[in-house]
């Protein structure tokens, strides 16, 4: 691929659109999450600011912007300020190869999933920096947990995706979508239910959401790696958390749920509907389950998901070889 001016302009437009998407997603998801939590707990959730509390999230983000950035004593300044930025910006790149609709891709690279998986590693780096730099023991414990958790959960995640890649024979997300049909029985979820399950569990682990929110386990570590962040630093972590959720949901929709393909009319709406259903699932289980313990978290991964993923991959490989 030659990086011509057109491609460059395309990337620029895509990045700007993705920033818009990320911010809009965070605002919407904060509202949806708080409303869903409210309804599950039989209370109204945000209610007073705007009609049905719709501009609550915007007001919250204004508040976060206006807040003083508090820096504790003896922090490592460079890393302390680098961490939220590092949490936020790599996620931008990750959206580039996602096929939102037919022909609607930020950067249609042939091996898009490799790009996503490679840059996803930056997330854990930011957690590590944040916890390490903020001169806080809770932060340090949170960072230690974040690293071992992210490293662990990336593996079954990749194994689950590899099964689909084996089956499709391509690393390009667009081709993976094109390989699936428009109707639910033509999607990969039916062909690879086990891979879907593994992916679903490890996406919760990878995005540090409850019940796997160990790095920020509030009843143990107050807020974990971002204990000392306030104002904009906290907002960036928040933004990147929701962006990460959106990203893994998009990847899930692309790989298992047929991406932009759907009944009646293919298009961008199907991607978003599917992604947001998965987002809702993540929100839903967050408000239902207690948190797992750290050793259990790793046990689930190393003792169950990893062998299952390997077996699944092995069977897929054999079947792909036998039935071309």
């Amino acid at each position: 691929m030659d990086l011509s001016l057109v491609t460059f302009a395309q990337i620029l437009v895509a990045v700007l659109a993705i920033i818009g998407l990320m911010v809009a997603n965070a605002v919407v998801m904060v509202y949806v999450e708080r409303k869903a939590a409210g309804f599950i707990q039989r209370r109204p959730g945000p209610y007073e600011v705007g009609p049905w509390g719709t501009i609550q999230a915007i007001c919250d983000s204004m508040k976060l912007l206006a807040k003083q950035i508090f820096v504790p004593a003896n922090v490592d300044w460079v890393l302390f300020f680098l961490a939220p930025v590092l949490a936020f910006f790599p996620v931008l790149l990750l959206f580039l190869p996602i096929p939102f609709g037919p022909y609607l891709t930020g950067l249609a690279v042939p091996d898009g999933i490799v790009l996503i998986l490679a840059f996803a590693g930056f997330g854990v780096l930011s957690n590590l920096f944040a916890g390490w730099a903020s001169n806080n023991k809770y932060g340090l414990l949170g960072a230690a947990r974040a690293v071992s958790q992210s490293v662990a959960y990336e593996i079954p995640l990749i194994l689950a995706l590899l099964a689909i890649i084996f089956q499709t024979g391509s690393l390009s997300l667009t081709e993976i979508v094109e390989a699936q049909g428009s109707y639910p029985w033509q999607w990969n979820i039916l062909v690879q239910p086990l891979a879907f399950f593994i992916y679903l569990v490890s996406l919760v682990g990878e995005t540090n959401r409850a019940p796997f929110d160990l790095p920020e386990a509030e009843s143990e570590l107050t807020a974990g790696f971002h204990t000392e962040y306030s104002g904009m630093g906290f907002a960036l972590f928040f933004l990147s958390e929701y962006a990460n959720m959106l990203l893994v949901s998009f990847v899930c929709a692309t790989f298992f749920l047929g991406g932009y393909k759907g009944p009646f009319l293919d298009g961008i709406w199907w991607t978003f509907i599917k992604a947001y259903l998965i987002m809702f699932f993540i929100v839903w289980i967050r408000w239902t389950f207690p948190r797992v313990r750290f050793d259990q978290l790793l046990n689930i991964n190393w003792k169950w998901l990893l062998p299952l993923g390997l077996i699944n991959l092995w069977i897929t490989a054999i079947i792909v070889k036998l039935l071309p």
Binding site: A36, F39, I40, Y47
Partner: protein
């Protein structure tokens, strides 16, 4: 091994049960009372015992039944009451009745010891104050104001009919 797998499958099922419960609650009506728009129903409200008030006099509702005997002042554990006797010995009614709600623990010792039942709990559940001074009530003035507002009580029960209006 088989057993562990079976246990985990059962565990996964238990997770689904929990998710079903929260899903049902997601679509069931809320329990919250939106305070400024809705308030708690009256029969629940009148059992609440808020700050003290003087009951209405038997003959003239605006004159308190209090005979300045200081029983309540002695009984109060928080020292929140001040009753000043009338300097004229012939008049029993007090000239000042101060009640410091910031010190009150709502124990009811004063209400129970009052020989003339001149004291009662109000039901002002939505009481709001911005300063401490606003919580020091002059109960004689309060009684006068209430009597002026509703000279005759609608119900049979004395003070409890004047449920919380703020």
């Amino acid at each position: 091994m088989i057993r562990a797998i079976w246990d985990n499958l059962k565990g996964l099922y238990s997770l689904l049960v929990g998710m079903k419960i929260t899903l049902i609650f997601l679509f069931s009506p809320q329990k919250t009372v939106h305070y400024p728009r809705k308030t708690v129903e009256r029969e629940n409200l009148i059992t609440y015992r808020g700050p003290l008030e003087l009951t209405r006099g038997k003959t003239d509702p605006a004159v308190t039944r209090c005979i300045s005997c200081q029983m309540c002042v002695k009984a109060c554990p928080g020292h929140c009451l001040t009753v000043v006797k009338n300097p004229e010995k012939s008049v029993k009614a007090p000239i000042e009745w101060k009640y410091d709600f910031t010190l009150c623990c709502l124990c009811g010792a004063c209400v129970e010891t009052c020989p003339t039942s001149a004291l009662a709990f109000s039901h002002r559940i939505y009481l709001v104050a911005r300063t401490r001074e606003e919580l020091i009530f002059d109960l004689l003035a309060d009684l006068k104001a209430r009597v002026e507002e509703t000279p005759v009580l609608p119900g049979e029960e004395g003070a409890s009919a004047e449920a919380a209006q703020g």
